[in-house]
Symmetry: C2
Subunit: 370 residues, 2 copies
């Protein structure tokens, strides 16, 4: 204790006491708790707790003293302890497959933002293939998240486990047939149909379809939509190849299409943009094919590079912002309703981005206006 002739001003005394407290906490290798703050502020621990709960009843003077003590001690409530009793962790598990791919980051960024706006943080689970999801479910249960948004295909058993555990679940961009589960998706089947319709209307007859990998549900639906529509229209059966959703696959796919047909198809519908760009580059820069003069190329997703001059791809956009918003809303609503929320499927329409790599017929509405 330092001795002074004149008594210390109140502020200084407070500062000294605060410093002593902090030293004690460090010495005893503890964390700063609400109890420390209470002691320093001269109130009960529950008073401190109430000060950090919005809308609790505390007198202004108590509040001020507590906040001052808390600030001095760098006190922040411990979310783990809180979640133990409130049963709310304010964390949401987000599961994604290829975060490094071009389309997921946008979804993730939007989700993170929308959830943050609702006071929830994203606990991220990345996985290389969709079938690895099983391995991380255990972690999801452990971490006591308030809910999960999963951009992967779940089995019936897996969905049931969510239900059994009462864990709110939103499936993102996967169409789980036969299961009533909350989901947000872009209508991939319709997207495939739409592209086929518009291309066919422009006079293309021989189609090549370069689908995504076999494991992908999204790929399967886009392919099915396009194929079904072409069949309906009575066009010659399209030639079908598959790729891995990557750039190299796009080039390989086009080579295979040409080999099987003996010539380039009139139009190539690619499973996603990256494949479409691989296809496009090969056609233009290696094979010297006139796109869209003699061959049209289109993709899905409208990822950023498709808007660039040198790409300017014809593609279909998924309204990612709205989808993320919907997912966050659905999940929040489930969390808040404690399971009484009815399962809902929110499907968004894809939006055609004309680009310059495909000849498209004008819309019916446009021709009327002409």
């Amino acid at each position: 204790m330092r001795k002074t002739k004149t008594p210390l001003p109140a502020d200084s005394v407070a500062a000294t006491r605060t410093a002593e407290y902090k030293a004690a906490v460090v010495r005893e290798n503890r964390r700063v708790t609400s109890y420390d703050v209470a002691l320093l502020a001269g109130v009960s621990q529950s008073a401190v707790s109430r000060c950090f709960k919005p809308g609790a009843s505390v007198s202004p003077t108590t509040y001020a003293r507590v906040m001052k003590a808390a600030a001095g001690l760098d006190y922040i409530p411990n979310a783990a302890a809180r979640s133990l009793i409130t049963r709310r962790s304010n964390m949401v598990a987000v599961v994604m497959c290829h975060v490094a791919n071009l389309y997921y980051p946008e979804a993730l960024a939007e989700l993170s933002q929308q959830l943050a706006r609702r006071g929830k943080r994203v606990l991220l689970f990345t996985v290389q293939h969709e079938d690895e999801v099983e391995h991380i479910l255990g972690d999801i249960w452990q971490y006591q998240v308030d809910g999960a948004i999963i951009a992967a295909t779940l089995s019936d058993e897996q969905v049931q486990e969510f239900e059994r555990r009462g864990l709110p679940l939103v499936v993102f961009n996967r169409n789980l047939r036969g299961r009533t589960v909350n989901s947000v998706l872009c209508d991939q089947y319709e997207a495939g149909r739409m592209l086929a319709t518009r291309l066919a209307a422009a006079g293309h007859r021989q189609f090549g379809i370069m689908a995504g990998p076999d494991g992908s549900a999204v790929a399967a639906e886009r392919r099915a939509g396009a194929c079904d529509r072409l069949l309906e229209l009575g066009l010659p059966p399209p030639v079908l190849v598959t790729g891995q959703f990557d750039y190299a696959s796009g080039a390989r796919g086009l080579r295979e299409l040409i080999e099987r047909l003996g010539h380039p198809p009139d139009a190539v519908i690619c499973g996603n943009d990256v494949m479409a760009l691989g296809c496009l580059d090969l056609a233009r820069h290696e094979l010297g094919i006139d796109v869209p003069g003699t061959m049209s190329v289109a993709g899905f997703d409208a990822v950023e590079p498709t808007g660039w001059l040198s790409c300017n791809l014809t593609t279909l956009r998924q309204p990612m912002h709205n989808m993320a918003l919907a997912a966050a809303d659905l999940l929040t609503s489930m969390i808040e309703s404690h399971g009484s929320h009815l399962a809902e499927k929110r499907t968004f329409a894809p939006q055609l981005v004309p680009g310059a790599t495909a000849r498209l017929a004008p819309l019916a509405g446009a021709s009327l206006a002409a």
Copy 2:
């Protein structure tokens, strides 16, 4: 109770008891706890706890009984409760600025994977601008993460707060001058120098430098490296413009360069790849400039599209995989050493990706061999 003439087989009895337990848990609106498992397995709660702790001493029979009971009740230890006592949440905060940008997703995916391998999960904090970081620090303290990896510039005070709270911190790809803080980075200054050197050696004299936004430390270092090197080489002062790291900025920047010079520069060093591609597209497709014949264009990051045929950009690659690995290692080591880990800065060299948008002189070594 169902009455049966013959006694139920042991398995069936167990199943019935398990079902009763589950029903009770639901009825009382509780969660399944280690205590429930203990009761069902006929052991103490601590025995259950030990069964879920790797390397604890439990007899095989106890272990088997506990695990059976646990499986029957879908029991999983509660990580929040555990973290309260172990002081480990097994969560790491990752803070990033524009997750939707092309370069971050790769970093995030790598980080998530490397951390998962070490038993840690990523709690994601996304932010629009680097100066918003301040707002999320409070959340970081709350969530009791074991450490943080931050891809944003921190102020001295902010770094000090991490130290004060004893929270392990790794700064990702930001060079915090004057502060001893663990960081992993790619040498952006050297990258700028390298590009200037190689372009100058190929005979380019009049440079345009299209830097990234003013707020970005990475942008500033790349620009400084290039400028300093050009000055050293005694070349005419480069014309300097800035952009926002986006595609549109690249085109705008080139227009501005041409306007200020009266003609295209010999070479444009762009602050990142996306701007470089914007610049390149404008030059080739709108202005009809021969790239790299009369003007060279180069960028930084080697994001995926730069490898595509129609882009094939000359750029510098950051060894993201190694950087993520280093960051995860640094952080784990800090966490495990309880603060005795000495601050370390791990700097990785950028790697030139020649591409086809810039004339580059052969390396000194190559010319010797000739």
